[in-house]
């Protein structure tokens, strides 16, 4: 799957917001807010094909449970699948 065009993140008062733009999104009036990790994922997968595994890898590269414990793959994958579900519901990714 990949990110639809015209959904870029803007910083508004320190928050990550997505405001749809472009001719194809004239009727997309929702505004989406993302937390830091979702925003990181969203920026990383712009203009490329991705799967839940892609997102899980980005999470594992960027987050750990504490200084010595890496993020377990199973947890990263679960978070990734959750995120993809949210993005599908928001209508900002396509197959």
């Amino acid at each position: 799957m990949k990110a639809k065009k015209g959904f870029k993140i803007r910083k508004v008062c320190g928050q990550n917001l997505i405001v749809a733009e472009g001719k194809e999104n004239i009727d997309f009036t929702s505004i989406i807010s993302m937390n830091e990790s979702a925003a990181l994922l969203w920026n990383e997968i712009q203009d490329k094909e991705f799967t839940a595994e892609t997102l899980a890898k980005i999470l594992m590269d960027n987050y750990q449970l504490d200084d010595t414990t890496p993020l377990p793959h199973s947890q990263a994958l679960e978070d990734a699948e959750c995120t993809i579900k949210d993005w599908k519901k928001a209508g900002i990714i396509e197959a």
Partner: protein, 258 residues
């Protein structure tokens, strides 16, 4: 900021060198927007009876524009007025400025715009202020202008004021932005930054399909809500609503002190 030349000989852009963006129903008639092959735009502005009143050709940043007007005097006036509004809204977007859809009241040097879809009761709320809140006056009833100058946010009257003729060259500090929501009981709530952005954006003249202009407009809105509180007033059209609102957005924000 921009030049607009009226030349009735202006011709539509060749059909094969423009693409349709959309036909917009403005409430006062359709406006047909095309993107030109040179990055500029063509607008055909129709009145409520579907008559073409104005053909407007602009460059990409709306700094150079020309238009042809058509029909009787009323139609030509309508066409020119709308062309000026469009060109102003988008040319000024490059200068930390927004044209907004609001009814605007002033009190003690502060401007308080009320936003909402047409027919919700913006003007009604303002008329409650004029009647019951001492020291209030009407700055504009439909399309005021907001501008940021060195981190200070100001709101202005404009040459466009909807059905109420109120064309004033006046300026005030922007005190608060308030969305009107009809309710059975009066109350007022302050919005979080995200809700503030989402509430205010639809009331600003913008064009989603031009990413430069849209970027400027979103950035300007972001800066405004960093400095100015945004509220939703759940209200009836009565005196108490104006008093509750005045207490919260004027007194509680310290605007009553000179």
């Amino acid at each position: 900021m921009f030049s607009l030349r009226v030349d009735d000989q202006t011709k539509p852009w060749p059909k094969d060198k423009r693409e349709r963006i959309r036909v917009f129903d403005t409430g006062n008639g359709d406006t047909i927007v095309d993107l030109l092959d040179n990055g500029g735009y063509q607008y055909i502005i129709k009145d409520i009876h579907g008559r073409e009143c104005c053909l407007l050709i602009t460059n990409k940043d709306f700094s150079q524009c020309q238009c042809a007007l058509n029909g009787n005097n009323t139609m030509r006036k309508f066409g020119l007025n709308n062309a000026l509004m469009l060109v102003f809204a988008f040319a000024s977007s490059y200068r930390d400025t927004l044209l907004v859809h609001a009814s605007l009241v002033r009190n003690n040097g502060w401007g308080y715009p009320f936003i909402a879809k047409s027919g919700t009761g913006k003007s009604t709320q303002v008329s409650m202020w004029l009647r019951y809140i001492p020291g209030s006056d009407l700055m504009n009833d439909d399309n005021p202008i907001i501008r940021i100058i060195e981190d200070n946010v100001y709101i202005y009257g404009s040459p466009w004021s909807g059905k109420t003729p109120c064309y004033r060259k006046v300026k005030a500090r922007l005190g608060a932005i308030t969305r009107i929501d009809r309710a059975k009981v009066n109350s007022i709530e302050k919005l979080s930054p995200i809700d503030a952005f989402a509430s205010f954006l639809p009331s600003c003249s913008s064009m989603k399909w031009d990413s430069d202009i849209f970027d400027h407009i979103c950035n300007t809105i972001g800066k405004i809500i960093e400095h100015v509180p945004v509220y939703t007033l759940h209200c009836l059209p009565n005196q108490e609503a104006a008093e509750i609102c005045y207490q919260e957005i004027h007194i509680n924000n310290g605007h009553g002190r000179n």
